[in-house]
Structures are given as C-alpha cells and as structure tokens.
C-alpha cells in the first residue's frame, strides 16, 4: 500500500457513516410517526451512500482489490475505525436524535474543511456529502429544540440522552500520527480546530432547547484505533450475516 495514512483516514470517515447509517436503518418500521420513520430511513440511506463513497476510495487507495462491500462486510469489529458514539444502540427516539445531532454538528464543519483537501477525490466526496449533511443537521437540530423545549417528559428524556452521550464525544477531537501525517500534506483538517465550531453549534442549539450542556469530560476515544464497545460486534453480526453466508451472491 502506498498511502496507509490516507487509507486509515478514509476508513474512519466511511465507518462512522456506515455504522450510524445502519443504526438509523434499525428504526425502519419503528418510528414514532410515519413521517419520522421515513425521515430516519432517508438519513440512513444518505449516510450509507456517503460511506460507500469513502470506502470505495479507501479500497482504491489500498490497491488490494477490495471494494466498499468487501470493506463493509468482511472486516471484523477490531478493524472498524468508527467513533463509539456512532455504534451505541438506538435507545429511545430522544437518544437517537441527540446522537444524530452531536454527530451532524461535527460532520458539517468537518466536511466543509474537507472540501478544501489537497486530495481532490476526497474533496469531491466531501462536497457531495456536505449538501445532504446540512439537511441532516437542520432536521436533528429542530428535533432537539422540539424535544428539549417540549413537554416535561420529552425534556427529561432529551437531557438524559445528552448526559449519557456526552462522554462519547471525546472521539471527535482524537488525533494520532495518521491525522498529523495528513494535516502536514494539507489533506485533512486538524480536529482541534473544528472543535470550536462544534462547541459553538451544539451550545447554541442545546441552549435554545433549554438543555444543560454537561461540563464533564469528553473522554471516549477507543473506536479510532479499533477498541469498541460491546455493542458494535452485535450490530456487525446482524449487518454482515447475509453477505458472509452467501459470499459473492448478487441480486
């Protein structure tokens, strides 16, 4: 492989969206109202589409003949590079929307920065994904305001979701030699610089939603180097079973 750093970085971008997209797809047929059921499956489709683009490029960069499907279905848990935030089970609707909001608020400034990447194929995918992600952020922000500033129960659930999810946002600012190598080449942004956008955006929406921003540490970072919660393995077992039971099947 000529560029292991870029390959690793693309896996992170692809895996975040594949895993979160799969989680959202689990809501299909279970949404609280029909419109929201459809909305969440739309978000899932977009995210899996973004994952396909990032993982296809990862396969190209790797040069070992793996396409997006091979990377999605034939890697085991420890080879996934997504944030733990994305793999946590759906919980209730407030938890799912809060997880979505915290991710979208990160994804928008990240993709904006990646449109200026020195790697043109990555910049093109980011520009494409950014348009849909802006829609996602608006959708999740509006739900956070509705839930937080809604009834006593919706407020309670939204606050509980935020408190539970907060420590998992630690992975957002995580960086290692992979990131630093790509930053030096102008390919990837410095996550520390994106964090202020994320903090500003989340603080503004959460305040409008009358929710209290936790002051505890954002500490979980294991997903970026393959150390996941116990939930990812179960999720992958379900996601990968058909492909692995019928290798090479087409329909």
């Amino acid at each position: 492989m000529t560029d292991p750093a870029l390959f690793g970085y693309l896996l992170r971008l692809g895996d975040d969206r594949l895993v979160l997209g799969h989680r959202l797809s689990e809501w299909c047929g279970h949404g609280p109202i029909l419109e929201e059921d459809i909305a969440m499956t739309n978000l899932a489709l977009d995210l899996i589409g973004h994952a396909t683009m990032f993982l296809s490029l990862a396969g190209e960069v790797e040069g070992a003949g793996q396409d997006a499907d091979a990377l999605a279905y034939w890697r085991d848990e420890h080879a996934f590079r997504n944030l733990e935030l994305c793999e946590l089970p759906n919980g209730d609707f407030a938890f799912t929307m809060m997880r979505q909001f915290l991710f979208d608020a990160w994804s928008v400034p990240l993709l904006e920065a990646l449109t200026r990447s020195a790697e043109p194929r990555l910049a093109a995918i980011a520009a494409k994904a950014l348009k849909e992600t802006r829609y996602h952020l608006r959708h999740s922000s509006e739900w956070i305001c509705r839930l937080g500033d809604g009834t006593e129960e919706s407020h309670r659930r939204a606050q509980e979701a935020l408190d539970e999810l907060w420590p998992w946002t630690g992975g957002l600012e995580y960086q290692d030699e992979t990131d630093r190598a790509l930053q030096a080449r102008g390919i990837a942004p410095n996550p520390a610089e994106l964090l202020s956008s994320w903090r500003g955006l989340t603080r503004e929406v959460l305040t409008r939603a009358t929710l209290l921003v936790p002051d505890g540490p954002m500490r979980m970072t294991g997903g970026r180097f393959g150390r996941h919660t116990e939930h990812l393995g179960h999720m992958l077992a379900e996601m990968q079973i058909v492909a692995r039971s019928h290798p090479g099947a087409e329909w």
């Binding site: 419109e35 459809i38 489709l45 589409g49 093109a124 520009a127 829609y135 608006r138």
Partner: protein, 180 residues
C-alpha cells in the same frame, strides 16, 4: 443541462438523443439528461463504443443502480456495441441544473419544482438560527392551485429527492422536488 460543451461527433449527438429515453424511475416525467445526471458522452476509439459520464443525485439514491442498467440497455438497443459508465462526484449535483421546461413537466406531474440553491442556503442558515421557515426564502408554491400559502409536513418524503407539503389554500397535500 450538460457540464462540458464541446463539439460532439454525430455518434455522440445520437447517443445523447437516445439517453433522453432513459427516465428517472422515481420521477418518470424527467429524463436523466434533463435531471443533469448525464454529464458527458464520448465515443471512441470506435464509434460504437460509448462512455457515459454520470453524477449521482443523492448519495444513497437506490435509483442510481437502475439508471445505470437502463443506460447500458438503452444504448445497446440503439446499436452501441459497448457502453461504459464513469461516475464523477464533482461538481456535486444540484437541482439548479434542472431547466425551465423540465420544471414545467414536474408541475404538470403534480410535483412542485425546486427553488434556487442560493435561496436554500439562506433558508438553512435562517432556520438554524431558529427563524420559522415561512419568513425565509425557498418556499414552494402549490402545484395544484399555485398558492404560495403552504406548510412543510416533512423534509423527507417517499424518495430522497422529495419533501412533503400541504397547501392551505386548496387543502391538497403535495410533494416537492427538494432544492439541493
């Protein structure tokens, strides 16, 4: 609308006309050329070998697979021996590429056409700041009665490209091709 305007060979112009026959499976009044999905058509080295450059509408749109198969089948039927498809992501697809005639077709089909993407960015910024969408640009008009007094029911409709609305003047629900 097509990205690169250059002098086309007779075979390329013919391939373009053939591609007008390939419709969006979700919105069958529009061809993939009108939608802006087809970015370029090139023949070569032989005249019967054609390469079609396309760009996806929505990243996860499942119709793209069907569209690719249709492109190959339709051009083969029209006598092109070999059809290759290349997918590009830049420039990212926008509904601004849908021309006025195609918008008229959408209205006739009962789907409100998209607005301008520049207006849409203003709406996103406004709504992110907590303003109600009724005070912001990029509002659809009802394709049934033409009224501008409409409400958004859901940003995510039956397909990735459409949102759901309702008209307060005539009381009809309608779909809109989202501004993108």
């Amino acid at each position: 609308m097509v990205a690169q305007e250059r002098v086309r060979t007779e075979a390329e112009r013919r391939a373009f006309r053939v591609l007008e026959l390939v419709k969006d499976p979700e919105v069958p009044v529009l061809s993939i050329v009108e939608l802006g999905v087809v970015r370029d058509v090139k023949t070569g080295p032989a005249e019967s070998v054609v390469t079609v450059t396309i760009t996806p509408t929505y990243s996860g749109c499942p119709a793209m697979h069907v569209i690719e198969e249709e492109i190959v089948a339709t051009l083969r039927r029209a006598g092109f021996a070999e059809v290759r498809i290349e997918t590009v992501y830049a420039p990212a697809w926008t509904t601004d590429w849908i021309g006025e005639r195609a918008r008229e077709k959408l209205r006739g089909f009962g789907i409100a056409p998209p607005g301008s993407s520049a207006d849409h960015l203003v709406q996103i910024a406004g709504r992110n700041a907590g303003l109600p969408s009724s005070q912001l640009p990029d509002l659809p008009t009802c394709p049934h009665c033409g009224s501008g007094d409409t409400v958004l029911i859901s940003e995510f409709g039956a397909t990735a490209c459409k949102s759901l609305h309702s008209c307060r003047s005539c009381g009809q629900p309608f779909e809109r091709f989202k501004t993108f």
